[in-house]
């Protein structure tokens, strides 16, 4: 009885990974996007993000204290949520917007379900949906640019080189806003609409979209920065290809088929690229749809989930009441996750097809 050794069930070695390492790496991966946000929208975007994060952490700690469970703010999941809430807010928003969003995200989106791992809905997106429903005007208006230098030959607004005779109706602040405006108004000739569409799918616009020189919420503007972070996460096997790829591919195909303004297949091949790089698609596909807690565990399920997100996104973008459908599409698919999981249990290795 002198030496008492440790005994446990196999395996006795373990990959060096933990919940907190996963979460903090996501934080790291989100940093480039934040930096780009600061670059284009000024220090205000950093402050808003900070408010969001602090509010998320404080709420999490407070509620865990109240629930008399261990306080786990150091695992970083609240930080991720806080950042993502703030990323979904435009930089001109008042300071309390990210705060309330984060509080709602953590309290109702996460802790009420039992905390990390048990929530059904993506907390950050729930927070955003809550804000949009509560203060729609604050959430959708007033992009402000404080770009220090004119890097690109264009504006922060939705369009480059806009012909002067285009009516004001399409001068929306975000590229997708322009698309929706085209859809809503009857006061624009089809020629004009075509011009605007061509403009949107021009190489210049796409470049702006890619680098982030465009109106939008803090986190979504720069596809490049987001892809950089996503690449890191993919390299570290923290996110897996199925959801983002099936999501983006679905959007690509559907917008190519339905995206044109003159019926099926009337879109140029650039339009799908426009749709992919505009709005929150990259942010959503790589950082939010991939939230493991609220997405299916099975491989097949993840593909279905991604495709569902893609379909809903395109439906909302092309026919819905909002210019942008990423956040709602992910939330809506979150609802279906238990069922997807249930019906996509993989066939066991060697299982005989009946």
């Amino acid at each position: 009885m002198s030496d008492v050794y440790a005994v446990s069930a196999a395996p006795h070695i373990k990959q060096n990974i933990s919940v907190s390492s996963v979460m903090w790496q996501v934080v790291l991966a989100l940093t480039p996007a934040l930096l780009v946000g600061i670059f284009f929208f000024g220090i205000q975007s950093f402050l808003l993000t900070l408010y969001g994060v602090v509010a998320a952490i404080v709420t999490e700690a407070l509620i865990q204290r109240l629930r008399k469970v261990p306080v786990t703010i150091s695992d970083g999941s609240a930080v991720v949520t806080g950042i993502l809430v703030a990323f979904n807010i435009n930089s001109a928003a008042p300071w309390w917007l990210p705060v309330i969003g984060s509080v709602f995200a953590i309290a109702i989106g996460k802790q009420i379900f039992g905390g990390l791992g048990f929530n059904i809905f993506n907390p950050a997106l729930l927070g955003r949906a809550f804000l949009v429903a509560s203060w729609p005007t604050l959430m959708t208006a007033g992009w402000k640019s404080t770009t220090p230098v004119a890097l690109f030959k264009s504006s922060i607004n939705g369009l480059v080189n806009l012909p002067s005779n285009v009516p004001a109706v399409v001068t929306s602040a975000t590229p997708l806003g322009v698309v929706k405006a085209l859809r809503d108004t009857t006061q624009i000739s089809s020629d004009m609409a075509e011009t605007v569409m061509n403009n949107l799918t021009s190489m210049d616009t796409l470049q702006n979209l890619f680098w982030g020189n465009i109106g939008g919420v803090i986190g979504e503007v720069s596809a490049a920065a987001l892809l950089l972070g996503a690449a890191y996460l993919a390299w570290k096997h923290i996110i897996e290809w199925r959801i983002p790829i099936s999501y983006i591919a679905t959007v690509f195909i559907l917008t190519y088929i339905f995206g044109g303004i003159n019926g099926l297949f009337s879109a140029s091949i650039m339009l799908p690229f426009f749709h992919i790089f505009s709005g929150g698609l990259i942010l959503g596909a790589f950082f939010m749809a991939t939230d493991m807690v609220t997405s299916p565990v099975t491989k097949k399920g993840r593909i279905i989930f991604g495709m569902g997100c893609g379909i809903l996104t395109v439906v909302i973008r092309l026919a819905g009441g909002y210019p942008e459908g990423v956040s709602y599409s992910i939330l809506l698919m979150n609802i279906t996750v238990p069922l997807i999981d249930r019906y996509t249990i993989p066939r066991i290795f060697g299982e005989v097809r009946k």
């Binding site: 729609p136 005007t137 959708t140 208006a141 009516p167 004001a168 109706v169 405006a181 809503d184 108004t185 009857t186 006061q187 009441g321």
Partner: protein, 191 residues
């Protein structure tokens, strides 16, 4: 069998008594309800066309009657019609008063269930007064190049109202300009 008959009988008694009472009460309330409805429409008409003292129906727009209002001198004071179109989440019905030169006199939103705080702000007097004196050429939301400043966050609702009124004005002008006012077949509306 007897049991069934009894069941049937009891139900018969209950339903009979119930329907009797209901029919009686209905006979009391129905006139009031009808009167209410008539009054509501009439009040709306009066409100959007205060100069008029009597109204004649002249035509129909989406099954709603278009009236020509006469002032106390018996002259044409203007027209009223109900414009209706599906907005953000409901049919928005607007009572529109039109001056004889086909400009909007006044409008009153009489039915809508748009989002409270957004679309529902269209019932505010400030908003409704925006339409006064506008004709169909400028009856467009500012974003569409018109003169109607849209409610913040509720462009759709605003656009719906503007578009419905514009359509109505166009229609009205068409039927009224074609035929001389005197020749129009008029009948007193009894409702």
């Amino acid at each position: 069998m007897k049991y069934f008959l009894r069941l049937g009988f009891v139900l018969l008694v209950i339903t009979t008594v119930a329907s009797g009472i209901l029919a009686y009460i209905n006979s009391l309330t129905e006139p009031i309800i009808k009167e209410n409805q008539r009054k509501a429409k009439e009040e709306a008409r009066m409100e959007v066309l205060p100069e008029a003292v009597s109204f004649d129906s002249i035509s129909y727009l989406n099954e709603e009657v278009i009236y020509a209002g006469k002032n106390n001198e018996g002259k044409l004071a203007g027209y009223t019609f109900v414009a209706s179109l599906y907005g953000y989440s409901s049919d928005v019905k607007t009572m529109v008063g039109v001056t004889p030169d086909f400009k909007v006199n006044k409008i009153k939103i009489i039915e809508q269930t748009e989002t409270p705080g957004l679309g529902a702000n269209c019932t505010k007097p400030e908003f409704q007064s925006l339409f006064e004196g506008k004709n169909e050429t400028v009856m467009l939301v500012d974003k569409d190049g018109g003169e109607i400043v849209s409610i913040t966050g509720a462009t759709i609702t605003t656009r719906t109202i503007a578009n419905s009124i514009r359509t109505g004005l166009k229609f009205l002008r068409k039927i009224e300009v074609q035929s001389e006012p005197e020749e129009i077949h008029r009948e007193e509306v009894t409702e």
